[in-house]
Symmetry: D2
Subunit: 457 residues, 4 copies
């Protein structure tokens, strides 16, 4: 991460100061509580050498504002009106975040006007006629037991910034919580900017959502832990289908548009996987170093089945130049690496001498629509709590996250600026290579399970 070097040259670019709506003057109603100091900050890195460098250079190491309860608030809870929305695809934990926001606002701060905006930003646009839901602790009490989001979700409409702010203004919203991914947060940043331009006093606070867990500055995102767990059943099914046929291939497409975290975690946690294909690693299909040859080697070595996990963002190059496909109604179909590999593997292996068969699994909906589990649910609650603390203290244009195991507040623009990638030289990926032993078949020398060749059952 080059940021740490760049800090030495222009520290002012990395001050990460959170915008506020104004000075905090209202006494917090919280009692028996540990308040944070407004100046509390958390270092982005705990690397001792880096920190020593900054210290020697006499400059502040980059840090984020600590999240937590403030002694003084910007908003008077009794008069505060809050709107919450969820946008984009489903992710485990959306309902936990909603519940955490409502419970904290209601029980800790005594806020009574909490509205759920239906179906993302769309719910703010009057022409669609969606009525907001009043949210109370009783209404949200058991919503965490269901996947999905009780508010519903949708994509888009974020470009209608003026209309959205009109709507917030018309309804006297003081705090607007946006739970969503890239697009949602970018729109939220635009909304916050427009709010500022109009000199309104509306705090816009985001809770970043990406099941892929590849945001750079916000730590583990909610839903990822559950998603990884949820892959167990489908990978087991694929394994059984693969083993149930001669030269059977079980092919599973998992989430991960830009990064292979879910694919890698799933392959390591369910070590029946024989090949894990991720966006970070280029691979061939044809030729001596290609996937087909690798599977052939596996079959030829006496293993008569094969389980392949592919992240949706892997092998995008193969999709270029493919002929158009249309569905029964004439709609253009998007090309998809999962279906592409399925067709290629089927074309090659279903014939003599392989006589194999390919079983394809695309479980995305079943993975993302389940409720968050255990510690993942706790993460949702604590992100929500800190989002409320920040908003009540007038923080705006920001997101909650976790930095070095501490909840922090970061500028909203940082949340989507850059994607984290698998470190191909790091322990996680090497453990995946050990678990799959795929490089033995790809004939990649000295990589992961390289010092010895023991083909995996």
């Amino acid at each position: 991460m080059l940021i740490y070097d760049r800090v030495l040259e222009s520290p002012q670019d990395f001050s990460f100061v959170i915008e506020t709506l104004g000075p905090c003057t209202v006494q917090s109603p919280l009692v028996n509580c540990e308040f944070i100091d407004d100046a509390d900050r958390v270092l982005l890195t705990a690397d001792a050498r880096r920190i020593a460098q900054y210290c020697a250079a006499g400059i502040q190491p980059p840090s984020f504002e600590l999240a937590g309860a403030h002694r003084k608030l910007f908003f008077n809870p009794a008069w505060t009106k809050v709107a919450i929305t969820t946008a984009g695809g489903l992710s485990p934990g959306l309902n936990d975040v909603i519940k955490g926001l409502v419970n904290t606002l209601f029980f800790e701060y005594g806020v009574r006007s909490i509205y759920g905006i239906r179906f993302g930003y769309r719910g703010l646009l009057p022409e669609y006629g969606h009525t907001p839901m009043m949210l109370t602790p009783d209404i949200v009490d058991t919503i965490h037991e269901d996947g999905g989001t009780i508010l519903g979700s949708s994509r888009g409409h974020g470009e209608r910034v003026g209309d959205l702010v009109d709507s917030l203004q018309r309804q006297n919203i003081n705090i607007f919580f946006c739970i969503g991914g890239d697009g949602t947060l970018r729109a939220a940043a635009d909304i916050a900017a427009e709010v500022k331009r109009r000199e309104l006093k509306i705090a816009v606070v985001g809770v970043p959502k990406t099941i892929d867990n590849d945001l750079n500055f916000v730590g583990r995102t909610f839903g990822f832990e559950t998603a990884v767990y949820q892959t167990h059943e489908i990978i087991t099914s694929a394994h059984m289908e693969a083993k149930g046929a001669f030269n059977g291939i079980g092919l599973i497409k998992l989430m991960g548009r830009d990064s292979g975290f879910i694919a890698a975690f799933a392959s390591l946690a369910n070590s029946v996987v024989n090949f894990c294909l991720v966006p970070e690693v280029d691979f061939e299909i044809d030729g001596k170093g290609g996937l087909i040859a690798a599977v052939e080697r596996r079959f030829s070595s006496g293993k008569d089945h094969c389980v392949i996990v592919v992240a949706e963002g892997a092998g995008q190059g193969f999709m270029k130049g493919l002929p158009e496909r249309r569905d029964a109604s004439g709609n253009l179909l998007k090309h998809d690496i999962g279906e592409y590999l399925r067709d290629r593997l089927h074309a090659h292996f279903s014939r003599s001498p392989w006589d194999g068969s390919v079983k394809y699994f695309d479980p995305s909906y079943s993975i993302r629509s389940v409720p968050a589990q255990g510690t993942d649910a706790i993460l949702c609650h604590l992100l929500a709590k800190n989002a409320v603390h920040a908003a009540m203290a007038g923080r705006t244009s920001c997101v909650v996250g976790r930095t070095n195991n501490t909840y922090t507040i970061a500028p909203i623009t940082l949340a989507t600026v850059e994607r984290q990638k698998l470190n191909l030289k790091g322990d996680l990926w090497r453990a995946v290579l050990d678990a799959t032993r795929q490089n033995d078949y790809f004939r990649v020398p000295g990589n992961g399970g390289s010092t010895v060749s023991v083909p995996k059952e």
Copy 2:
């Protein structure tokens, strides 16, 4: 079922006598066991009026041979050599049946030569070079914990009757257990016939497999119970995806080529389903009485989501005359009611004014590849035990089944002769209509939930 009337006219057609290899002369090694009498039979119907008719007419009511341990055997266990194969698609419980066969042969009868034929009938054909697996109680001890089949499976090759019998003969097999569906059992009948023609002493006994549970004469088939249970998770996901979007439609295709048992059971057991489409009921897509209009009525009534279950054999008429589709490699793709409905619903509902979205689920592999559960596993064990009892007593060209809660032996040809259908006037289907309330939307008068119209959430 007209059979019961036809019996009165020509009772001899319904004698259901099981072929045997010859007289039983070997003493059974079983001790502390309740033996059956060779003449024990189980009535096909327990309908008191029918039976009174037969009694009055002085004719034997139709019945099957009772299954169970025989006091005298045809085969001497010490010299008996057994082959077991699994063919066709996966179904929960295959490994339990294998385990039940092996344990009964080994522990009860003391048979020591038990071979697992790999990948269905293919494994008997020498040109494929598959080595059979020796099966012992230790090898099968934990196989029931996995789905699939340890023997592997494949389709086809059943037409090579001569080669298959050559192979059984060459390997001195005395008993051949075939676990499989229609095609498998038809081939097994052919094998038994060829065995008879050659005057060999090989018992061929089938264990019928169809996850659809629609065989007419063999009672509940193994795997069905687990399959129904397994639909829970995917239907819940579809519900969450449907509710998570404005006018969201969750569409799930379930197994059931000729009958809608899984679809009906799943819709009743998971009553978030709003429409259940089965092969037994014709339906329209377009027009006032069609599915699209029904979904429109649902959306217009203020319900902004919809869950649809469709059996794979429903609506086959729509597939006729559709243009060809090919995959990326130019292979012809089969049309499929699930994908067809997905495309039609998407084309209609993704546009204004509906702004809806369709999420499609095709969970067949994940349903059929899981291990059998609880009582379903018990069914497998007891079917297997009775298949062994029958074979050791020289019964051949037969299958095990359950008739009126008793294990029975039926001629193999009966197992596949006719499919059971949902009784559309019976309680099960009416309960589905109550649970879905779909006829309110289809505007079918007086059917199921007909006396009142309370649209379902």
Copy 3:
């Protein structure tokens, strides 16, 4: 079952005629429905030889009334007032039965006055002040997703027959559905008798509940299938705990006061069990043929762990003459075979030379409080539907059940008259002996896995 012989001598004792409140004169509102004929009956046995005997003797074979929709009703649905109660311990499926009753009454018959009586019979007694719940399809729509019963349950109060009938009379109840076990159904029979004495027109219909599945005349009871499935997780845990310690013993107590069905099914479906102890089989703890010696033999043979399942009704003789035990508050504690075995095994095996450890599991609550699954839920729905059909046609003092795979109506007194037991010479118990191989350790000659001795891992 001697009943079948006794029929030949005194057929009139086995007519099993259901009491009715009077002639059916109201037209059924059901359309598109298959009605039954009032004279339809289902034979209790489908044993062909028995039936031939009856036929030869010119007497009616014993049969139950067929359950199903009647063309004519006793009650006018528009004026019918229904009460439902659940009593006794929890069982999976209670909520499904309630839902099935409400949906059938409401959608099929158009009944609108349906009351849930809280906490069993207690809810009918005015001094406890429990308000009944109005039940509608919307209220019961998702209750099947939870275990337990939305009505609550309690034991006892059934002896206050007069007060209970007073209460039904005061509230103008026409139909009273009792979902419960022995005690509940006995009280229901008393209520029906008192209703008759007072010449009231209240139909009393029971749905038998016993998770042990050992009622003699009503076929498989709801909840059993789920209970068997639910044992999987706890037996797996016990296995892991047993293997995780040197000479580790995992001891699990399962339901089954009079019969070992759950224990036997669970041991067969989860074949890591090494000893299955049921009420039907006497066993010793001490001495050469006792459990301790058997476990010692297992440990001595090199197996360093052991999993034992004991039904709660097994080994009751050991509990006689034990000293009293009291809890911290001085309350007398009931002796329990699970705890007794735990203490005995601990006392023996925790010392040198065994150095073992005993981990005890009593999962009853976690097994009985889960929701019914898949096909078990369907059973609940169809039992409920048939209970409604019977009640609307004025049948009373009866229960619904399944006879030879058909839903039937039996006199309520039969439901609890006699318990089914494991047939120790039958295939189920023999399969358990094969799966556990316990007789090798008990040194029981020639029983189950007797022809060979292969100690189980």
Copy 4:
């Protein structure tokens, strides 16, 4: 945490230098790998103000050695002999750690002599005669699918340091991995000290195990995430049992001897819990502010059920002075807060006017014996990998852990020195209070859900 202040006064006390066996001179066989620098360290705190203080004072902030692959090793992999043991109670993930150690040693480093010591330290003592298991990737390939530990475990024997080191020495072990809790790690420290005294070259590296997740210096411990998730089912059961009876109380005892992390996480993730009792909070049973009065208030307010979670270490004061209890064999029974509360609540609430009933759940074994799930399994793998990296580089008397999201190496003595406690003024505990609303019933003013009183269903 006062340590951060104490550092300013005596920084040398907090240098946390890891002992090594000697200089690293062997070239690492790892290729395509990111090596760490021996001087890399990770700060214990990322608190910006603290770090600024240290910087201003010119002293090194406290830090741990970074874990990771070293370019130079102490041991030559080809000649390295490794022993692995698991000791103490089960925890999810033990098998994943074993698998991670074996795979990393074998595939990354090419180590071929890997021994599993059976049943903890006991397995090293010759008089018990346990044979070690040879461990290879094939042997450990699927062990992660089972809970428990394939090596078996036991408590104790750690005091026989001399004998244990004799045994390691006799078998020429170079690296000894100890996976265990407090006692195990203390013994490992003693072993390392004795190894040093004898001037042997044996690296002793620990992987800390405590399902309670309350170690101060090692970050989240493996197994905790799974344990929290695993509480879901049992708490749901308790809820159903509580609701299924009038004034029903479901009481669940969870792990947590010194801290309430599992109890708190479980109560927050499963918000049907009404009271969460942890070691960090003193509570009364009797009197106006006691638990009994609180439950009475709940029942009196119209809520007729109640779910209570108690950590095993809560309310230990009540156990003092209780009369002795003995089991059937006369063995003394330990008092236990779960059983104590059960008896107290039963004595009070089973009587008129409450007529309630208490259902008690002690699920510890079923929680700790399951396999680690998803991300928890990944944690195990990466802890194991870093333990191997450290050991191969000659680090000894140390444990692996996570500090500020980075894997680190800490002195073994630190791992057990101090227990983390729930911060009663922090967001986690406050979220528990919001979720349970228990302080409304305890009448604790202004604590958690204090600003308003909405009793929880």
